[in-house]
Symmetry: C2
Subunit: 428 residues, 2 copies
């Protein structure tokens, strides 16, 4: 990999998400050699992926070049690489561009979509964890309407205009709301020769409320907002299967749909070598102690979605979202520096800053630890917080310009099929 | 195609570029049914593609949804389609989504890259006529540097950092200049462990000056600007072949390069059915009369790059660029309306508004019919004109924000490998 050997200890960080980058910034200009590996050359601001899928934002405005983050840190090396395996006994990482030894290894690999073993759903559904995936969804949504225009068979046409979103967490709720706004404001003008009233947006949740990780009042209000926007909310309905044409459920509800978007679960993105059952607990996450050390290892750490750390208040681990990742990344940075200086590491403690979701124009729900609110003000807070956490001044300006424009003009101009999405062959 | 039959005559326009859209706007709200066919659902602002390739602009800011252009025109139908053949005798157009009859047909198909029959160059070189192509080039440029980092063989590393641009028209010159600025301002920071001085930018032109379609003073000044930026300008050198590793020329100059970008020629994008040799003259363009009627047809018109119309001042036809396309599109719109009203059509006359090219920061050349100037002021004029002709208020703002940011910060943040470019297998 052409990375020089120095007398400083080498820390390898796998993953340039919220956790990996927060950690990296802490290690800047220290007597450590830091190697950051990622399979993309950019950081993705995942909370806004649904706006890329729905034409509200250009993909480049929520991506940020990792090399630019690190450009002033002389002790840093970035490599675009897929990590294939970790060999803890030999302290080495095997990648598609070579093998590298570490002194300390930090897994910040995040999470991937969890299909709970259903190969048919995996093969036929759309997901939204990366920018290319979100662009595929954007293309497919638009292609569906272009195709629907050509169908004289009413059932085929309606299936193309029927969108089923499985999972009513923040991603599912936000996507459903955005689709509902497109249905109202854009599609009738873009497709005057289609009866857009036939477009259905179905949000399907296995449990008894939307946004189950938030407060009950937020769930209720979010559901109310969704219904006001015309989204069909299905609670206590578990999707069992999807063959590319029909989605079946445990109840007698079924959906004829050309598009099923799966946001119903994530799991830790483990890597061979530390994915043994003994390290893993629920959701494929690696059990870590309060110092983010992976159980059974002193020199392997995990931060963010991949790490499962229990605290008294979080017996099932922290929520898999940006805040715990950022806080753990920073904290581990401090701890690694303490370790270098032969000081005792300090246990991590999660400061819950709350959570939020937006449903649409002027409609959001915010749960702060001591205060919950919904509606217009929540919507402003949501926007402010997202702009604040977005990396890069240019990105913030571009996103802000888009939001102002979209708000004033009731528009979303990135409705572009740049690369058509070609559905893979259906599995048998 | 599900397009209703009405008593109004039907005009089919193939292509939503400058010519097609200018024409379409003229036909709005007239007693005509207009069907616009394009293989993309957006208009591409081609003059700025090179900025997408070099990370200066996001692709979505130079694309504009065609349906949005047409949304207030009730007599318009857009269809996303590939036109496969035209059958003039039956007045019908055959596409991948069905067959459609026309009363009047307008070809506004533009141009495609001309490899002058060289299959090896076609298979191994990069081009920049569409947004996906420009994104492929952006990915490849960045992938090259990521790869170069891993090479210990100096020749291999240098080949990855050697960029050969064939053709010193505006596209080639602008791309070379942009690469030179990246070399200077961005790459040394992004790749501190690479010796970026080894990066070569070669601009190869078969004739004896760059920008051969512009004035001699502009050519000279542009060449001076390019050399100041560190571009190697090769004149009177014709590239003969490229196998993916080495480019050979008619002289003893040759280039070991992993990246050859071909901007050395375009040809009319003809369609089967009106591509007979008898309609075509040089550059694969369709010979049209002063009313844009394709020779031999009364009901088939051609506008823009695909059309070759001679005037006294333009014995070889108008230049293949935006201005003639826009003017012909508008003019044909007027003529079609005159035709409907049984009035005589008026002959087209090109108003030459001049041409321009930018080489880099504060460096551009402008040829107006009566006035030529170069340097900072030319650069401002270039930017103003490009913003003015860009379609869409949001696009203008986004491009403007990017330009201001890039100018102040000496930066280009869209250096993202969103979809890695995978080189096709080399041809034998």
């Amino acid at each position: 990999m052409n990375i020089p050997l120095t007398s400083n200890p080498r820390v390898i960080i796998i993953g340039g998400g919220f956790a990996g980058l927060s950690l990296a910034k802490k290690l800047a200009k220290q007597e450590l050699q830091v190697v950051l590996l990622d399979k993309h050359n950019y950081h993705t601001f995942q909370p806004l992926l649904y706006q890329v899928s729905t034409g509200g934002l250009e993909p480049d405005s929520i991506a940020y070049p990792i090399r630019k983050v690190l450009k002033d840190y002389t002790n840093f090396f970035f490599r675009l690489a897929n990590v294939e395996e970790i060999v803890p006994k030999e302290k080495k990482v095997i990648t598609d561009i070579g093998v590298l030894k570490y002194d300390y290894l930090v897994l910040a690999t995040g999470s991937r979509t969890n299909f709970f073993g259903n190969a048919s759903i995996k093969a036929n559904s759309m997901v939204m964890k990366t920018i290319p995936q979100s662009l595929n969804l954007r293309s497919l949504i638009l292609q569906n309407f272009e195709k629907a225009l050509l169908k004289s068979d009413l059932n085929e046409r309606n299936a193309l205009m029927n969108f089923v979103i499985v999972g009513a967490g923040p991603t599912g709720v936000e996507l459903a709301g955005a689709l509902a706004e497109i249905k109202k404001g854009i599609l009738p003008k873009d497709y005057p020769d289609l009866d857009i009233r036939q477009m259905q947006i179905n949000l399907v949740q296995a449990s008894d409320r939307v946004l189950p990780a938030m407060s009950e009042v937020s769930s209720k209000k979010a559901e109310h907002f969704l219904e006001k926007l015309g989204v069909n909310v299905w609670k206590d309905v578990r999707v069992l299967d999807y063959d590319g044409e029909m989605a079946t459920t445990e109840t007698d509800v079924y959906f004829n749909t050309a598009t099923l978007i799966w946001t119903a679960g994530v799991k830790g993105a483990t890597i061979k070598g530390v994915d043994d059952k003994k390290f893993l607990i629920s959701g494929n996450r690696l059990k870590v102690n309060r110092f983010n050390q992976v159980e059974g290892f002193e020199d392997i750490f995990a931060v963010g979605d991949i790490a499962l750390m229990t605290e008294e208040k979080f017996p099932k681990g922290h929520p898999m979202m940006a805040q715990p990742a950022i806080q753990q990344g920073k904290h581990l940075g401090d701890n690694l520096l303490r370790l270098m200086n032969n000081k005792k590491m300090r246990p991590f403690k999660y400061r819950d800053k709350g959570s939020m979701a937006t449903i649409g124009r002027n409609k959001a729900v915010v749960d702060l630890p001591k205060f919950k609110f919904q509606g217009v003000f929540a919507w402003y807070v949501w926007m402010f917080v997202h702009l604040f956490f977005l990396i890069g001044f240019r990105n913030r300006v571009i996103v802000f310009v888009n939001w102002v424009y979209n708000y004033i003009r009731f528009d979303r101009e990135a409705r572009l099929i740049i690369r058509p999405y070609v559905k893979k062959v259906k599995n048998a």
